[in-house]
């Protein structure tokens, strides 16, 4: 029997239709929910609620969960390769996504050793700096490589303990929406990752001006969009993260972190 699938948004651990009831057809065949500003609002609220729990997990536990996400993704390889257009290129993209998850899974409990420091200061203080997650991070997925491109930004953000509201690639959102099914079965707590599909033009402004979004990763934005985002992010001191490198690096995790320095008196 041919069961046709209804693609849904992923908000607060649940698969939901857009509250607006709208849909669009990115490939002219399949209906995909066209998320609204209120879907974004709900997603940000869910993420904010989930943040203390996820940031408070031990680094090792976060690593285990990211590794499980890699396992789940690999287990559904055939489905994703088909969604990405089959062929060697699709296969390469999937392998890349799995590899990215595994790689960042290993970094959760090594990040603070590498990016943290003990600082020599001219006074009786033990002075050290440690990375802490920024909070709610919005990720605009790139249009090319709709799966690997998203995972490349998602994994480092989650690795450091951030929570994410991701906007799927507008022209090819199916892989991202299906990735939600992988994440939902990977022990990632509800609300830690939320995935919205829809039109960038309509949604970017709301994300950029949202006071409760702490950072926005503009991987998938055009230069004009980045300019507009930076202008409205200036009003709420939101971090705008621009990473063009496709390499993996612990410094890409650090881009989503705030560095906290502590002055601890000694000898008193």
């Amino acid at each position: 029997m041919d069961v046709r699938k209804t693609y849904k948004l992923f908000v607060n651990g649940e698969f939901v239709r857009s509250e607006s009831g709208r849909a669009y057809r990115p490939d002219g065949k399949v209906n995909v929910p066209r998320g609204s500003r209120k879907d974004l609002r709900d997603a940000v609220r869910a993420a904010r609620t989930a943040f203390p729990g996820w940031a408070g997990r031990t680094a090792m536990n976060r690593g285990q969960i990211l590794y499980r996400a890699a396992e789940m993704l690999d287990g559904r390889a055939a489905q994703f390769v088909e969604l990405l257009g089959s062929g060697a290129r699709a296969r390469r993209e999937l392998d890349q996504a799995v590899e990215t998850l595994v790689w960042y899974a290993g970094w959760t409990d090594k990040l603070s050793q590498v990016t943290g420091t003990v600082n020599p200061v001219a006074g009786p203080y033990f002075n050290f700096t440690i990375p802490e997650p920024t909070g709610v991070v919005a990720i605009i997925a790139p249009e090319e490589a709709p799966l690997a491109g998203l995972v490349r930004r998602l994994a480092p953000a989650l690795c450091g303990g951030n929570v994410v509201v991701a906007l799927a690639a507008e022209s090819a959102p199916l892989a991202a929406l299906t990735l939600a099914e992988v994440l939902a079965t990977s022990d990632i707590p509800a609300g830690v990752v939320n995935i919205i599909s829809g039109q960038r033009k309509e949604l970017l402004g709301w994300l950029a001006s949202h006071m409760d979004v702490n950072a926005i990763d503009v991987a998938g934005c055009t230069p004009d969009e980045v300019k507009a985002i930076e202008e409205s992010a200036a009003g709420n001191v939101k971090r705008v993260i621009k990473v063009t490198s496709k390499e993996q690096s612990p410094y890409l995790i650090a881009a989503f972190m705030e560095m906290k320095t502590i002055w601890h008196p000694i000898g008193v």
């Binding site: 609002r41 940000v44 709301w206 001006s209 949202h210 006071m211 409760d212 409205s232 009003g235 709420n236």
Partner: protein
């Protein structure tokens, strides 16, 4: 004014209370809660919600300092923004009245105190009356009393009635709000009966809950209480106020109560003299929604004071 009814009169009053269509009440409350209030209407409603709010703290851990901070917020909900009105009242335990008197002198914010062995009401009547008198003497403008649910549920309406009458007398010039604690009454019929009983005994306001029992205020229960008020006013001509309390945390919920009030009791009740929303955390959400309407950007709790 309320005078002690004899047993037979009270019996006929209670027998005269008709029963409530439960499914109908649920449906109507749900339908009214869906009404869409947007833009300038929403701003108007949010402004009214602030003006009708009883900013509440009823914790064992309340200190003079915490009450002082709450009083400051009651007078000027958003620092540096004079366009946001003061709330109607603060609601505290009797021992904290003195702190409120000190910080609210010369302002429009009223002081409400719970009394009568709040929240259970399971104590001796003379003690409840004494507590009320002391609270009024300490400076409370409004007394929030709880009914003795044990007596009400066992059918001893006379005891509940007499107690409300006695407390009302002890209030003197202070307004009396009678808390029915609808979460413990069980049925809408009982809610309606308790509402009529409290109003007949002289309540100036009837109030849904203490906030200490789940479920607290719900829309259908509020509807049943408001319809009781409407019927009572038709019968006696004496307007009685309504206060919803407990579990109202979002601006959206608050607006639903305003819609319900408007549709049931009419525009005369859209004033702090006749409508109150008791809440501890609602105010910040209302302030965030006001800012959202004004600036067009979704707001963050990070930028609002924690009370």
């Amino acid at each position: 004014m309320a005078t002690a009814l004899s047993l037979t009169h009270l019996g006929s009053l209670m027998r005269g209370v008709r029963s409530v269509d439960e499914v109908g009440a649920d449906e109507r409350a749900a339908a009214l809660a869906k009404r869409s209030i947007k833009k300038s209407s929403k701003l108007w409603a949010l402004d009214l919600a602030v003006r009708c709010m009883d900013l509440t703290t009823l914790e064992g851990a309340d200190t003079p300092g915490k009450v002082a901070a709450m009083c400051a917020k009651a007078m000027r909900p958003k620092a540096g923004d004079a366009t946001i009105p003061s709330v109607a009242a603060v609601c505290v335990y009797p021992l904290r009245i003195a702190d409120c008197v000190e910080h609210l002198r010369g302002t429009t914010v009223r002081i409400a105190s719970v009394a009568t062995a709040f929240p259970s009401g399971q104590s001796f009547t003379p003690i409840k009356v004494e507590e009320t008198e002391q609270a009024v003497r300490a400076g409370a403008h409004e007394i929030d009393m709880v009914i003795d649910r044990g007596a009400f549920l066992s059918g001893d309406y006379q005891r509940v009635y007499d107690e409300i009458v006695a407390v009302k007398e002890a209030c003197g010039p202070a307004h009396l709000k009678v808390i029915l604690e609808t979460g413990e009454l069980g049925t809408y019929d009982a809610v309606r009966r308790a509402s009529i009983l409290a109003m007949a005994a002289g309540a100036d306001f009837i109030k849904t809950s203490t906030g200490k029992v789940q479920p607290a205020a719900t829309l259908p229960v509020a509807l049943v209480m408001m319809e009781s008020i409407r019927d009572f006013v038709r019968e006696t001509g004496r307007p009685v106020g309504f206060k919803a309390a407990g579990g109202i945390r979002t601006a959206k919920q608050a607006i639903a109560y305003l819609v319900l009030t408007y549709e049931t009791l009419g525009p005369d009740w859209m004033t702090p003299d006749r409508l109150r929303l008791g809440a501890s955390t609602l105010l910040n959400d209302v302030l965030m929604q006001i800012d959202k309407e004004r600036t067009g950007a979704y707001q963050s709790p990070d930028y609002f004071t924690i009370d």
